[in-house]
């Protein structure tokens, strides 16, 4: 059965004159991987701190495990920071034993790859394995809610695939997973995405749903630098795409008006990144 793990209802938080989080309502359930995406300074970190009870809202309500957040609810959360939070000079086994000890539980069992490096110091193993150790450390006390900050950043293709396999398995076992990321391939792994800009929630849905409501015009001009300059002068955001130019959120007519009748144009589905650019620009 799915349960609501964390929920915010019209939550706002200011720091001085800066409204960091502006009336955000969202909820996440067990078994769900929720991706939180937004520009730097958009309010993602403040929102997470509010959800976890590390910050008190100025307005609105937060409920964590169906109660107001307390110190006790924190023990039901696992957190993997981008910096991993491991001790470089301790071995893999020592790190896991330490983090399990903090929660008074047994250290987690190591899979074959990690068992081979159990007695190696963290600083001597590759980043992909280090991230897996950090993930195990965050999971050791069987948290119901996992918070992961760019969990596979910097990891090679296979290490990344392995890590996502493990993250999906935790969600399949009933944990809720909250992922903050700037990587579009990580965002695409999430069941649902929430996009925050200037403290406000501006889009929510699956990657497919978010992409489906936005379009990008692709142009193939003979002189891409000149075309790019004209489009930017007309106030449009332009992205290079090989020998094409992509104009997220523009209409065919507007691009045609700038580039004239000659260059081939087509309207195409936006990529996830382009959809976020359109949403950020609109707000």
């Amino acid at each position: 059965m799915t349960a609501v793990l964390a929920e915010s209802d019209g939550v706002s938080r200011s720091f001085g004159a800066n409204l960091a989080v502006d009336r955000v309502s969202l909820s996440m359930t067990s078994g769900e991987i929720l991706g939180l995406v937004g520009a730097n300074g958009a309010g993602k970190t403040t929102l997470i701190r509010l959800l976890l009870g590390l910050e008190r809202p100025d307005a609105g309500n937060v409920r964590l495990f169906d109660q107001p957040p307390t110190r006790a609810t924190r023990s039901r959360i696992g957190y993997m920071p981008q910096t991993l939070g491991l001790y470089d000079d301790l071995t893999v086994a020592e790190n896991l034993s330490f983090s399990a000890g903090v929660f008074g539980v047994d250290p987690p069992r190591l899979d074959d790859d990690l068992a081979r490096v159990a007695d190696t110091t963290i600083k001597a193993i590759p980043l992909g394995l280090r991230r897996r150790v950090a993930f195990l450390a965050a999971l050791a006390h069987r948290p119901e809610l996992l918070v992961l900050d760019e969990p596979t950043s910097g990891v090679g293709p296979l290490g990344r695939a392995d890590l996502w396999e493990t993250i999906h398995e935790s969600a399949d076992d009933g944990s809720g997973v909250l992922v903050t990321t700037h990587h579009m391939d990580e965002a695409e792994q999430c069941d649902r995405l929430v996009f925050i800009t200037a403290g406000r929630l501006v889009a929510s849905g699956t990657a497919g749903e978010i992409v489906a409501s936005h379009a990008t015009v692709e142009a193939t001009p003979a002189d891409p630098p000149a075309a790019l300059e004209s489009l930017e002068r007309a106030g449009m955001s332009v992205l290079p795409a090989g020998r094409h130019l992509r104009v997220p959120g523009a209409s065919l007519a507007n691009v045609r008006a700038v580039l004239g009748a000659v260059p081939p144009l087509s309207e195409q589905p936006s990529t996830l990144e382009e959809a976020f650019m359109i949403l950020a620009r609109a707000s």
Binding site: V155, G156, E188, Q189, A207, E229, V238
Partner: protein, 269 residues
């Protein structure tokens, strides 16, 4: 004009950092080198910038005076203003403070109104734009930018790619490294590195088309032994020789799929 490397190999710290890497960087175009930490991206950048020589292989690069280089996470001084940063590098290139080039670059990078701000007080995106401007000062024939988009949010990354296109349009060959695979779509040429090896190379389109065999999607875990990887709530299953398992629906591979398949193929020949 075209610059690049042919079968470049180098050992660093007892480890093969690059293994027979080929690369083309063409005037007016952007070549992206994409990979994880330790894949060899910065080694490629440093070789092309003339800071390292390979153990074997051929390097084709312009005269050192005609290379613009922005090192990873660097290239600007936090305690100098935007204008002071630019003027300092300009003086090293013998470009006077009155030169129109500085103003021109401030305009290209959209930093006109930030000239008096300290570089350390700029947002990550603006600071990277300043670093690009500094690399572009001497109108280099080739500009090498090492991870200019790392840590930037998607919106700033998009803006920076717009800037790179303008830079390429000035008639320089641009080499950029990145850890974001989706940025491969933006470049004219792409080289994907993994542990010093080229996993895939070409245009984003040709790389997608190079996927060997067939790729399928299933909603349930595939049977043991079938090469597979997760994608959200579904599994990708790969049949290198063709012939997908029953229940798998054929799908078009994206760059992520090609790179995982290539990495699997390299590990398990």
């Amino acid at each position: 004009m075209s610059f690049g490397m042919d079968r470049a190999t180098i050992e660093l710290g007892g480890r093969r950092a690059l293994d027979e890497v080929d690369l083309e960087v063409t005037t007016g175009e952007i070549t992206a080198v994409i990979g994880a930490d330790g894949a060899g991206k910065s080694t490629v950048a440093r070789i092309m910038a003339g800071l390292l020589g390979p153990d074997s292989g051929t390097i084709r690069r312009p005269h050192p005076d005609s290379i613009g280089y922005q090192p990873e996470a660097g290239g600007t001084w936090a305690d100098l203003t935007v204008m002071e940063n630019l003027s300092f590098v300009a003086s090293a290139h013998g470009i006077g403070p009155g030169s129109g080039r500085l103003k021109e670059l401030l305009a290209v990078t959209g930093l006109e109104t930030a000239g008096e701000r300290l570089a350390g007080a700029l947002s990550g995106g603006m600071r990277q734009k300043l670093a690009v401007a500094m690399a572009m000062l001497p109108r280099p024939e080739m500009t090498v930018l090492d991870e200019p988009t790392t840590g930037l949010d998607p919106v700033s990354r998009g803006e920076l790619w717009g800037l790179l296109a303008r830079v390429a349009g000035e008639g320089t060959a641009v080499l950029v490294t990145s850890s974001y695979l989706n940025e491969a779509e933006r470049a004219s040429h792409v080289v994907v590195l993994d542990e010093g090896h080229v996993l895939a190379a070409g245009t984003a389109e040709s790389i997608r088309a190079s996927f060997p065999g067939e790729l399928g999607v299933t909603g349930a875990p595939p049977t043991e032994g079938v090469p597979s990887w997760r994608r959200g709530n579904t599994w990708r299953v790969w049949a290198p020789e063709g012939g997908l398992p029953s229940g798998a629906r054929a799908t078009a591979p994206d760059l992520g799929d090609v790179v995982i398949a290539a990495a699997l193929a390299r590990r398990e020949p």
